[in-house]
Each structure stands twice: as structure tokens, then as C-alpha cells.
């Protein structure tokens, strides 16, 4: 199981906060809320492509939106592997933080 990069971590945490499954726009809003920084859709999709290739996220089309001419949206869902990679990364964060504290470094 690999360690996530910071960006992947942010996306996954946003996804987890949205109950593990969401469309693109809410994820983007969540990320902005989390980090306070703007993220472009292009960047988001590129990162999503990586996550999908690694098997941490799956994408599927939702049913069409219930308006006339409404189209289906992509819904991203975090997988089991995604969750365990996230947990592992979190654990690593804890480990590093703990060790830094033990050695009395200012963090």
C-alpha cells in the first residue's frame, strides 16, 4: 500500500467528509473550504485520474438529473483500498508528529 501525496490526501479527506461518495462540484467546494485555496477543475480531474488508476477511487455515472434535458453526473466513491491508504498516511503523520515531539523539536 502506497503513501498518498499531500494533494491526494486532501482530495481523499474531502471525499471522506462527504460520506465517501460525491460529485465533482461538492468535492471542489469542500477542498476550498478545507484549505482556503482555490482549485481548478483541471487539476482536480488530473489528480482524480491518478487516484482512479491506483484504485483508490471509482467513478461512475449517476442517473440523469431529474430536469428536462438533464444529464448524468460523475459520482466518485472512495474504495476500501483508498480508505486503508488514507489511514496509513494518517498513521504516518501521527508517527512523525509523535517522534518530533519526543525529540523536542519545535513544530
Amino acid at each position: 500500500m502506497g503513501i498518498l501525496t499531500l494533494r491526494e490526501e486532501i482530495i481523499l479527506s474531502a471525499l471522506i467528509m462527504l460520506d465517501g461518495s460525491s460529485g465533482g462540484a461538492p468535492i471542489r467546494n469542500k477542498i476550498i473550504e478545507l484549505t482556503g485555496k482555490e482549485i481548478v477543475y483541471g487539476t482536480l480531474y488530473n489528480l482524480m485520474e491518478y487516484l482512479i488508476r491506483k484504485g483508490y477511487v471509482t467513478a461512475h455515472k449517476s442517473d440523469p438529473v431529474p430536469v428536462r434535458g438533464g444529464r448524468s453526473k460523475t459520482i466518485y466513491t472512495i474504495t476500501k483500498e483508498g480508505r486503508s491508504a488514507f489511514q496509513e498516511t494518517m498513521a504516518l503523520h501521527e508517527l512523525i508528529r509523535g517522534q518530533l515531539k519526543d525529540m523536542e523539536f519545535e513544530v
Binding site: 460529485g23 465533482g24 462540484a25 481548478v40 483541471g42 480531474y45 488530473n46 444529464r71 448524468s72 460523475t74
Partner: protein, 871 residues
């Protein structure tokens, strides 16, 4: 969500977003954009929303481009991997493919380097586009055709500069071979007498000295680095005095400047520059510089602007009108025109005669054809191997590859192969360039042309890749997986008419090349062995360059004769193969009509006819004892008698300029006193002791030639210690006149070999494929009792038919082009072109059979058990 209908994303943004197909399919980009857009619009107004929209679109676009490049790259990696695997798997096939393309490309690069070099002549002048040479033109006369020359009179350049506002500078120059003495060294050097504006007009590099003053003083000389090293070694030559001997006068010239050596691609070549007036003795200078009748110098003009050419050229007739009024108003062959020729056109003579530029066209076409043959070869082999890759294509298609993707995959493979071939080809070019240089007598330097070579190479590789890739790629990507797996596609791959067309075309081009090279060789051989009417074997010609020998000519002759290996010797103003002095004839024929023609004049000693073993048709030879024979007895050739319309030429009167009462005393049989490119012209021979002393022709025995030559040299030095001794063998001179044709012949042969090689490689590959495909068929035939010969014929039949069809196409092309080429010669070989065509057909058929026979015979003699067992 009701506001959705009233307010959308800007339609252009929507359009751009739609183009990002990957985002669209996988991530519903438009929907997401729409959602966020609405949110922002609600919260912060339409302006903010639009700004956000555009910023995001642009930034996402970069992200999208990055992503798609990444994915393509992943796919390209896969394609490359496949390509290398295929190369490795079918080693024989790959080697054949790469070899064919390599040879084709190497030939293409080599030829295009040569062509580019030839076209680069005189490019280095800064003002090359407005630099012109003045040429003169006498409209056609009876024997000479339309004649252009580039000699002009000395006052022309000054007149042009003074009287024509279009001219920035004009400069006259004349090339001379003169004797330099410095301390103990004395040598002939070739250089120019020229004006002080030389460096304003041309961009030759002056290494030392000021370009405005180096040629200002009449007694100055500018030498190049080679001469500086030769005469002064490591000393500084500036300010040193060099002794120069010219026109019978010795001068002391001061070295005022050093020039770089002339670039190889300059049509003006020189080792030194001397002010123009110095070539005339002091007392004659003023008169010579103003002599409009002395047409023996070249004039170049630098116009102020290139566009002035049109207005300037017609104005030159003003000069003719002013200084040659009778020529201006004259009609016919006496009329004179002055024209200007761009300096870029001089080397190839593209607007005076087409001879040189034609060779350039021929070479370019050949280069192109060789590359084409190589491409067709590749197409052939690749499509015939399609069967082996059918499964791969099927699998790819089943797993979702589009035709477009497959097409680019195969194009990529072709490009890869052509790049591999390019690398090898460039290696080959580097290897062969030195010998190619000696062959074409040019100096193409690999260091200088490296970039150009790479450009040409990459160009060739891309062209080859595309040309040879498109068809196989279309063909391979068109297979339907259904057919492939059910096995029905095999027949469509097998029966590919286009493949036959390619082989036929290849062999057609090859046949034309073989026929042409055979014809060229036959013709050159014919010319070398033609009976020119005189005996040129074992004749040594020594030029007499100085008056000190002329004064003691009788003693000089005696001394030369004083060797038992010298048979005889004679004197003449010029020698056969290079007789060019002439005059015009005007007279009446027997019916009283006007006759006008040009004839050549040769001043000879009394025994010229004996030494050269010419034959008299009528009359008698000159006799030394008869005093009237000197200068007023004339011998003419048969052609002269014919041109003048004389049935009984003996005793006819000749023009007065030959002496009062000049009469014809004999007629010699026609002999070729010039190159065999031209037919025999009218000639008169005059026994004139004062004008015959330019060349000594000595007939020798072939024993101890070094001994004879050293005897000549000793004698020469004894009479003229100042001048170096030079000599030539007449047959060498003769052969050197046909050097260009000989080279053409060799070049044609080499190109034919290259194209034959490529075509053979192709044939070999096809045969290999054919035999592999038909192994079972051969086995069954053998089991049923077919003989080896039977099977070989069966397998080879197809190829033979192809070669025969190719010949049917090649024959008219070869016939036409060779008849055209032969028109250059007044004497044409007696072998007919048809014979050569049949001969070359034989050669082509033989080669074709040879290249397919190995595979075929191997297949035919194989044990049928082996070929049938594996089922």
C-alpha cells in the same frame, strides 16, 4: 434550479469544455462547471462568475493538455515496445527492411549534398543577389551557333561606373598564369589582374591590409596565405618585394596584403591579385586601358539594387551604339549585344547553356527515384508480412483500438525504422564522403556541412517514413478482427495487386538506370577508340612559354632531336584537340551565291602532317626548301573545300590577310582537331615560322620514357632556365576532355548498382515470404511427383512476369532519354540502343532470378516430409 434555463455558461466556454473529451466522458466537466458557475453567480454576481469561468477554463485547458500528453506517452511507450519486439522477432525481415532504406537514404543524402553544394556556388558574396557579370552575344553564325562569351574590353568597367546611375561598382579582371621569383624559388602562379574596387564588389576575405589601398599602387601585389607560406615561410610578407615576370617584362612588386584562400565554391579562383594596368608595359598602358577592341577581360558589376536589372540591361546597347556603331547597326552574325548574367548562375551556366544544370536535374531526379524505390520496397515487404501481424491487429481491435490509433501505431513503427536507417545512413555517408569528394572533384567538408547533412537526413527520414508508412498503415489497420480470426482475410492479403505494381515500378526505374549506364559507357568507349584521323599515341607536347627559346628555335629543335628515342618533332601554334583560333570566310560559290562561314587556323611547321600521321587527300605537303611555302602556301581540310563549295580546291586563292597570292597547295583528309562533342569544322594550315612556335609536339619511342623526359627537361632548362618545364602526353589530354562523361558514366553505374541492390533486397524478401507461405503447397506438389525444376519454375514464374512487364514500360523511357543524351555528341556509337536494352533486360532478369533463386531452390529441394509433417 429554475435559473438554469435563463443563465448558462458562456457558450464559447461551453464549446471549449466540450472539446476536452476525456474530462467530459469521465468527469462530467460541463455539469460541474455549470453548478459552480451558478453558485458564484448567485453569491457574487455575473461578472465574478464569468471571470471565474474563464480563468478555470484556461487553467483546466493546461491541465487537460498535460494529461492527454501523458496518456499518449504511455501509449507510445507501448507502441515502441511492440515495434522493438517485432523488429527482434522477425530479424531477417527487419534487416532487409532497414538495409533497403539505409542504402536508399545514404544515396539520397550523398546526392543531395552534392546538388546543394553545386547550387551554393558564389553564395558567400555579401551582395550576391545584385552582382552580375557582363556577357556578350553574337547572334548565330553559320558554324558556331548562338555564341555567348564573357570577354569584354578594358574601358567598359570605368564607363559603366561613370555613365550609368544604376551601377554602384564595376570591376574588370583577367586571369593569368605568371612567373613569380623570390630568392631561389620560381614558380608559375595563377591569379588575377584587377581593379581597386575588387573588394567592394566581391566578399573575398582580406586578412591583412586595408581593402581601399592594397591595390592602389600599380606595383603592389596581394597574395593568399598559401603563397605567403610558400615564398616567405613564417616571415611576415607585408612590405616584401616579389619579382614577377609577365609579358616579357620583369617587375618588382611590393606585397601589400594577404587574402584568405578562395572558397571552394567560388567560380573565380586566384592565388594573387595585381593591379590591372601592371599587365601592360608602361608605354602601352594608357592606350591599352582605353582599347575598346581588346576583348579579353571579364567585367563584373554591382548594381545599386536588384530590381534595377530590368532597366539596366537594355541600356547596355547605348555602349554598343557609342563605341561599335557598325556592330550596332549590323545585321546577322555581326550584330553584337551585351547582357548581364547573375553571378549565381555562372557556375551552372543555367542561362547560357543548359549543360551543367541538366546534370543537376538528372542527379536530383535519380536521388528522388532511389528513395522512391527504397520506399516501395518497404511498402512491399511490410504488406506482405501483414499475415504475421494479423493476430496482433485483431487483438488490438477487439480490445478497443480504433483504426486511427492502429494507423498511427504503424506509422510510428515506420518512422522508427526510418530513423534507425537514418543513423546508419549518416554513418555510411561519413564513411564514403572522402572518396565521393575525390570522385566529383569537389571538396565537401563534413565539418561545414554537418548541420545541412542532418537537416537533409532528417528530411529524408521523415519523407521516407511517411511515404512508405502510409500505405501499409492504411492496409494493416483496415483488417477486420472478424475476418482475421475466421481466417478469411488471408486471400485478401495474398492477392494484393498493388504489390505487383510496386515491384514492376521498381524494376522499371532500375532498368532505365541500367540501360543508361550501359549506353554512357558504350559511348565513352566508342569515343576513346574512334579514329580521329591522326595518331595521338606517344606524342609529347611541350609548351614554349618564353621568347628565349623562340629566338633559338632551330638549336632547341636540334638539341631535342639529339636522342635515339625521339622519332621526329614539329612545331605548331596550337595542338590537336585544342585548336581554337579562327577567322571568318566570305566568298562566292561556283553558282555565284554568297557563302559565309567560320574556320579555324593552325600555324604549323613544314612536317606537322608527317609527325601527326595525317593523310593528304590531294596536292602536296609543305616543303622546307621551297621558300614560297612559308606563309602563302595553304593546306586546307576536306570540310573547308566542302564549305567553300570547291570541287577542285588546288590553286584556289585564299584571303589577303594570309599574304598576297596565298594559294591552296594541298587538301588533307578530315581529322578531329577539337573535342568529339563537335563535328569537324573547316580548317586551314599555314606554314608560318613566326607564329608556329607555341608548342613542340614530339613523337617518341615508348622505350625509356623517364629518360626521354629528363632529356627534354635538361634541354629546356638549358635554353630557358627561368621557366619551369611542363609537358603533356597527347593521349592524356585527349582522355581528359571526356572526363566529365566518364564520371557521369561511373555515377550512373553506381546509382544503378544502388537501385539494383535495393530492388534485389526487395525481391529477396518477397521470395522469402512467398516460399514460406507456399511450403505446404510445394510439399504436396513434390509428393504428387513434381520435379525440382518444375517447382522452381512454378515459384519464379510470377517474378519473371513482373520483370518483363517492367521492361515493357522501361524501354520507351530509356530509349528516349538516351537518344536525347547522345545528341550532345557529334559522333554517336554504332551499337544501337535496342541492343543495350536487350542486354540490360538480360542483366535485370538474371539479377532478379539470382535474388529469388536461393530461397526457391531451397524450398524446392526440401524434403516434403518436413514441410508436411507439422500438421
Amino acid at each position: 434550479m429554475s435559473s438554469r434555463k435563463t443563465c448558462h455558461l458562456p457558450s464559447l466556454a461551453r464549446f471549449i469544455l466540450k472539446r476536452m473529451s476525456l474530462y467530459n466522458e469521465r468527469h462530467s466537466i460541463i455539469e460541474n462547471f455549470e453548478e459552480t458557475y451558478q453558485e458564484i453567480r448567485k453569491k457574487e454576481g455575473i461578472l465574478k462568475a464569468n471571470i471565474w469561468c474563464w480563468m478555470s477554463v484556461i487553467q483546466s485547458l493546461f491541465g487537460y493538455i498535460g494529461l492527454s500528453v501523458l496518456w499518449r506517452f504511455v501509449m507510445i511507450k507501448n507502441y515502441l515496445k511492440t515495434a522493438f519486439r517485432i523488429l527482434k522477432k522477425h530479424k531477417g525481415h527487419s534487416v532487409i527492411n532497414i538495409l533497403g532504406l539505409t542504402v536508399g537514404m545514404a544515396a539520397f543524402i550523398l546526392i543531395s549534398l552534392y546538388v546543394q553544394y553545386e547550387l551554393s556556388y558564389d553564395d558567400f558574396h555579401e551582395n550576391t543577389d545584385r552582382l552580375y557579370r557582363i556577357i556578350n552575344n553574337f547572334p548565330s553564325s553559320y558554324y558556331q551557333g548562338n555564341s555567348y562569351g564573357f570577354s569584354t574590353p578594358p574601358p567598359l568597367s570605368a564607363t559603366l561606373m561613370d555613365e550609368f546611375s544604376e551601377v554602384e561598382y564595376a570591376v574588370k579582371l583577367t586571369q593569368r598564369r605568371i612567373l613569380f621569383n623570390h630568392e631561389n624559388r620560381s614558380n608559375f602562379e595563377i591569379g588575377l589582374f584587377t581593379d581597386k574596387h575588387f573588394f567592394d564588389v566581391f566578399s573575398f576575405k582580406l586578412l591583412r591590409g586595408d581593402k581601399n589601398i592594397v591595390l592602389a599602387d600599380p606595383y603592389s601585389v596581394v597574395i593568399n596565405e598559401k603563397l605567403a607560406r610558400k615564398y616567405f615561410g613564417s616571415e611576415n610578407p607585408i612590405g616584401k618585394i616579389m619579382k614577377v615576370h609577365t609579358g616579357g617584362v620583369n617587375y618588382d612588386l611590393r606585397v601589400t596584403g594577404i587574402i584568405d584562400e578562395t572558397p571552394d565554391n567560388s567560380h573565380i579562383r586566384f592565388d594573387f591579385l595585381i593591379p590591372f594596368e601592371t599587365q601592360f608595359p608602361v608605354e602601352k598602358r594608357a592606350r591599352q586601358l582605353n582599347n575598346w577592341m581588346n576583348w579579353s577581360h571579364r567585367t563584373y558589376v554591382l548594381l545599386k539594387d536588384r530590381t534595377l536589372k530590368k532597366t539596366f540591361e537594355p541600356k547596355l546597347s547605348l555602349i554598343i551604339n557609342k563605341y561599335y556603331p557598325e556592330r550596332y547597326s549590323a545585321e546577322g552574325s555581326k550584330k553584337l549585344h551585351l547582357l548581364i548574367q547573375p553571378i549565381k548562375n555562372i557556375h551552372l551556366g543555367s542561362d547560357i547553356n543548359l549543360k551543367e544544370i541538366i546534370y543537376i536535374y538528372v542527379f536530383s531526379f535519380t536521388a528522388f527515384f532511389i528513395l522512391l524505390i527504397a520506399c516501395m520496397n518497404y511498402m512491399n515487404l511490410t504488406t506482405s508480412y501483414a499475415l504475421k501481424r494479423a493476430r496482433e491487429i485483431g487483438i488490438r481491435k477487439v480490445s478497443g483500438a480504433q483504426r486511427k490509433q492502429l494507423f498511427w501505431q504503424f506509422m510510428g513503427e515506420t518512422l522508427l525504422i526510418s530513423i534507425i536507417s537514418l543513423v546508419i545512413a549518416i554513418g555510411l555517408v561519413c564513411l564514403f564522403l572522402p572518396s565521393f569528394n575525390t570522385f566529383i572533384e569537389r571538396n565537401i567538408d563534413i565539418g561545414i556541412i554537418r548541420n545541412r547533412m542532418l537537416c537533409t537526413g532528417v528530411f529524408a527520414a521523415i519523407i521516407t517514413g511517411f511515404l512508405s508508412g502510409i500505405y501499409p498503415s492504411l492496409f494493416l489497420s483496415s483488417f477486420s478482427p472478424n475476418e482475421i480470426f475466421s481466417g478469411t482475410s488471408r486471400s485478401s492479403i495474398k492477392r494484393n495487386k498493388l504489390r505487383a505494381v510496386f515491384v514492376i515500378l521498381q524494376f522499371c526505374i532500375t532498368s532505365v538506370l541500367i540501360t543508361s549506364s550501359l549506353a554512357i559507357f558504350k559511348q565513352i568507349d566508342y569515343i576513346k577508340n574512334i579514329d580521329v584521323g591522326y595518331n595521338r599515341d606517344q606524342i609529347v607536347v611541350i609548351p614554349i612559354q618564353d621568347n628565349s627559346i623562340r629566338k633559338n628555335i632551330a638549336a632547341f629543335k636540334n638539341e631535342l632531336l639529339n636522342n635515339r628515342n625521339v622519332v621526329d618533332l614539329t612545331l605548331s601554334s596550337q595542338y590537336p584537340a585544342y585548336v581554337s583560333n579562327g577567322a571568318g570566310w566570305k566568298g562566292k560559290d561556283e553558282a555565284g551565291g554568297d557563302i559565309e562561314f567560320h574556320y579555324n587556323v593552325l600555324y604549323t611547321d613544314y612536317n606537322f602532317i608527317d609527325v601527326y600521321k595525317l593523310e593528304l587527300a590531294e596536292g602536296r605537303n609543305f616543303k622546307e626548301k621551297i621558300t614560297t611555302d612559308s606563309s602563302i602556301s595553304i593546306i586546307i581540310n576536306q570540310e573547308f573545300a566542302k564549305a567553300a563549295g570547291w570541287k577542285n580546291p588546288l590553286g584556289k586563292n585564299m584571303p589577303d590577310w594570309l599574304g598576297k597570292n596565298a594559294k591552296v597547295i594541298g587538301v588533307i583528309k578530315n581529322f578531329n582537331f577539337r573535342s568529339l562533342h563537335s563535328s569537324i569544322k573547316p580548317l586551314i594550315m599555314v606554314y608560318d615560322q613566326s607564329r608556329m612556335t607555341n608548342y613542340v609536339s614530339i613523337r617518341i619511342n615508348s622505350e625509356n620514357i623517364p629518360g626521354i623526359l629528363s632529356h627534354f627537361e635538361r634541354t629546356y632548362k638549358e635554353f630557358n632556365p627561368q621557366y619551369p618545364f611542363t609537358y603533356y602526353f597527347l593521349d592524356d589530354v585527349f582522355n581528359s576532355m571526356y572526363r566529365k562523361e566518364t564520371k557521369m558514366g561511373w555515377l550512373a553505374i553506381s546509382f544503378s548498382i544502388v537501385s539494383i541492390l535495393i530492388a534485389c533486397i526487395g525481391m529477396f524478401g518477397l521470395a522469402l515470404f512467398n516460399v514460406e507461405r507456399r511450403t505446404k503447397e510445394v510439399g504436396i506438389r513434390k509428393v504428387l511427383g513434381a520435379s525440382v525444376l518444375n517447382i522452381v519454375l512454378q515459384l519464379v514464374k510470377e517474378f519473371i512476369i513482373w520483370v518483363i512487364i517492367a521492361y515493357a514500360f522501361a524501354v520507351p523511357i530509356a530509349y528516349y532519354s538516351m537518344s536525347k543524351w547522345l545528341q550532345n555528341f557529334a559522333y554517336k556509337m554504332n551499337t544501337s540502343i535496342w541492343m543495350l536494352i536487350i542486354l540490360s533486360a538480360g542483366i535485370a532478369l538474371f539479377i532478379a532470378l539470382l535474388s529469388v533463386s536461393y530461397q526457391t531452390i531451397k524450398a524446392a529441394t526440401a524434403n516434403p516430409v518436413d514441410s508436411l509433417r507439422y500438421e
